[in-house]
């Protein structure tokens, strides 16, 4: 790298200060441990909340419910108070984080709030068989926190909690054919998450949240559609929808040069198509092998053509 830096400085592409700073970085005279410390902080908070959960389960009889609930609520409130005090308030754009611990303190606060809710329901059964509404409540609170404090970590937590609420609600209250209902809910959830992300971009509101929305939404949507392709009655409908969504994902991948969406599109579409074909056609071993041979050859050729056309590495 040092030779390249000399060359780039010599040709004037990098100025003297830039080259000097990069030399110091590559020569390890400046060494950032930013990501290592963030990882340590993240691991610490996850372990801490797990330990607190275990602690609650173990000691709730001896310490007393009110004391434990108060301690958890206090911890959660302290975390939110810290974020409110240090944060710069709501902004529709990316907000700079005041310090590296900020994001993780907010995460801790949210996780403690979840523990608080769980404990409250476990002990007092306030909502009884309707306990899934706690999930909706915490999901909405996380969503609010994610937007107010500008935190993608909590946004992921919010979206997965809302998804879990839909899943739990379906499995608890649907007596017959709950797998079809679950699939329907997953499709609705995935589409809503994608639509919400897109709408936010159009409105110019938290544009940088789009990737979280899209990665989660597209995966849920495609997985739910794949799960429906083995249906005898509606398999074709699911397959058509899968190919449509897959095409959309691939188109977005090419347009935005985010090739992860091409990976999702091709893998899910291939899986769904294969399930559909084998569900509806009875083949001998040779036919099955020929199917894999021809489809793999076609897809490799298509990928090579795609790369040549759009220069994926650039």
């Amino acid at each position: 790298m040092q030779e390249a830096l000399n060359d780039l400085e010599g040709t004037g592409i990098l100025n003297r200060e830039q080259a000097a700073l990069l030399r110091r970085i590559y020569g390890r005279e400046l060494f950032s441990v930013h990501w290592e410390l963030r990882l340590l902080l993240y691991a610490g908070i996850l372990i801490l909340t797990t330990g607190l959960g275990l602690l609650v389960a173990k000691h709730f009889a001896s310490i007393g419910h009110v004391t434990l609930l108060a301690a958890i609520a206090l911890g959660s409130t302290a975390c939110f108070a810290y974020c409110l005090r240090r944060g710069g308030g709501f902004s529709p754009e990316t907000a700079p984080t005041p310090d590296a611990a900020y994001d993780y303190v907010l995460l801790l606060g949210c996780l403690l709030f979840g523990t608080f809710q769980g404990y409250l329901e476990l002990r007092y059964q306030l909502l009884a068989q309707h306990w899934s509404w706690w999930l909706l409540g915490s999901g909405l609170l996380y969503l609010f926190c994610a937007h107010y404090f500008d935190n993608r970590l909590v946004l992921s937590l919010a979206l997965s909690t809302l998804g879990a609420w839909l899943g739990v609600k379906t499995s608890l209250f649907t007596e017959r054919g709950w797998d079809a209902a679950l699939r329907g809910n997953a499709i609705f959830f995935g589409a809503t998450v994608v639509a919400a992300g897109t709408a936010q971009v159009r409105l110019g509101w938290k544009r940088h949240f789009l990737s979280v929305h899209l990665h989660l939404g597209v995966n849920v949507l495609l997985a739910a559609l794949v799960a429906g392709t083995d249906s005898r009655t509606k398999g074709l409908l699911y397959l058509a929808a899968l190919l449509l969504v897959g095409a959309g994902s691939a188109f977005y991948a090419q347009r935005a040069r985010r090739f992860a969406f091409l990976l999702y599109a091709l893998l899910y579409a291939y899986l769904g198509f294969t399930i559909f074909v084998f569900e509806h056609v009875r083949w001998e071993a040779e036919g099955i092998i020929l199917y894999f041979l021809t489809t793999a050859a076609a897809l490799v050729s298509a990928l090579v053509a795609f790369h040549r056309r759009f220069r994926s590495a650039e």
């Binding site: 040092q2 390249a4 005279e29 060494f31 993608r152 090739f259």
Partner: protein, 405 residues
Amino acid sequence: MIALYSTGEDRVQVVEESRRWEESGLVSPAQAAAVRERYRPELVRVNLFIRILLAIFTTVGVVALVALPAVILNVEEFGITVLFLLFAPLCAWVADRQLIHGRRLYRCGAEEVLLFLAVGFLALAVGIPAHEWGRSAERLGWLAAHGIALAGATVLALRYGYALAALGAVGALAALPFHLLDALRWHQPGVARIALFLLLGAAGIWAHRRLARRENLPRGYVWCLETVRLAALAGIYLDINLFAHRLVWKDWLGWTPAAGTVSWSDPWFDLCCAALTALLPATALALGIVRRDRALLWYAVFAGTASILTLKYFLHLGYLAEEVTAAGLALAGLAFGLLRWLRTGADRRRGAFTAEPLLEPRLYGLDAEALAAMQPLAPTPKTPATEGFRPGGGGFGGGGASGGY
């Protein structure tokens, strides 16, 4: 390493690094584009996700291609061996001659998979026919297949600089003592364990010493050596840590020491395991700090976290809930304290260390988009300076002679 890669990798590296400079806001997009134009690689590369797709579908296609004649001709062991012996060199030839040297492909998925399949086919061609020659021959046949897999993975790592092949080689090397003893019907897991320790230790030390001169090595070699070192360290750590729980050794490998040999209850067993479980991450951390070695620091973070979590197997301080809570508090407190300590130093650094993100993390070939896929820990690209980099001015804005950076 082949000349095509050793000479071409430098340009690839500069181009990839220029992306990190741009994402970190150290250079403007125009400057990054100029760097990429000047160092345009001659090697053909594809995006990581297209590489994964090419690898998957090439595997499906080649396996189907081998299976088709096997099914049509209804072949048995001998026929399959012949097929594997035909396809192994064919795959290697297509990958090396046609794709790498002919089309200058560089880590595009398809050629990598073909080379791995060539090694796998060759190993299977040796292992499968031995099935018909009796139990002893079968054991030796699969041992030979194991040796071929080890040699093949080593060749791929040396010739093409594939880190995954290096990882496979370390895995095959670690399993070799057990396989060897099993083939010889000499049921002494203790001996195998000592051999495992020696092999992993030797591999790790060798790789570590070679890495001291990393500046003079091709990038592919550095990745391979890094992989060997980390895999060896991880193997040793897992062995000593899991041994203390008796999990792998008793339940999975069924080791029950015979009379007169070492007993589970020997106090020095647990003491040694406890000492090594603490020493390994601590040594890695110390070496990582002294040498500013990022891989060792990551190893120290993971191994240290695991050590704190499994502390209860060595020191019975309390119960699981309290220990996990204390471990979480200790880790989070340590990280938070270090962050604050580094930020309160002159120019927000202590010595060479800073908690500021200088460059976005490099995950060995994963590009920024790959990081974005790993939400939510992915970094957010900073807005690059419109007029290029402005040094000085306090904070973290410059470098070199202007003081502060």
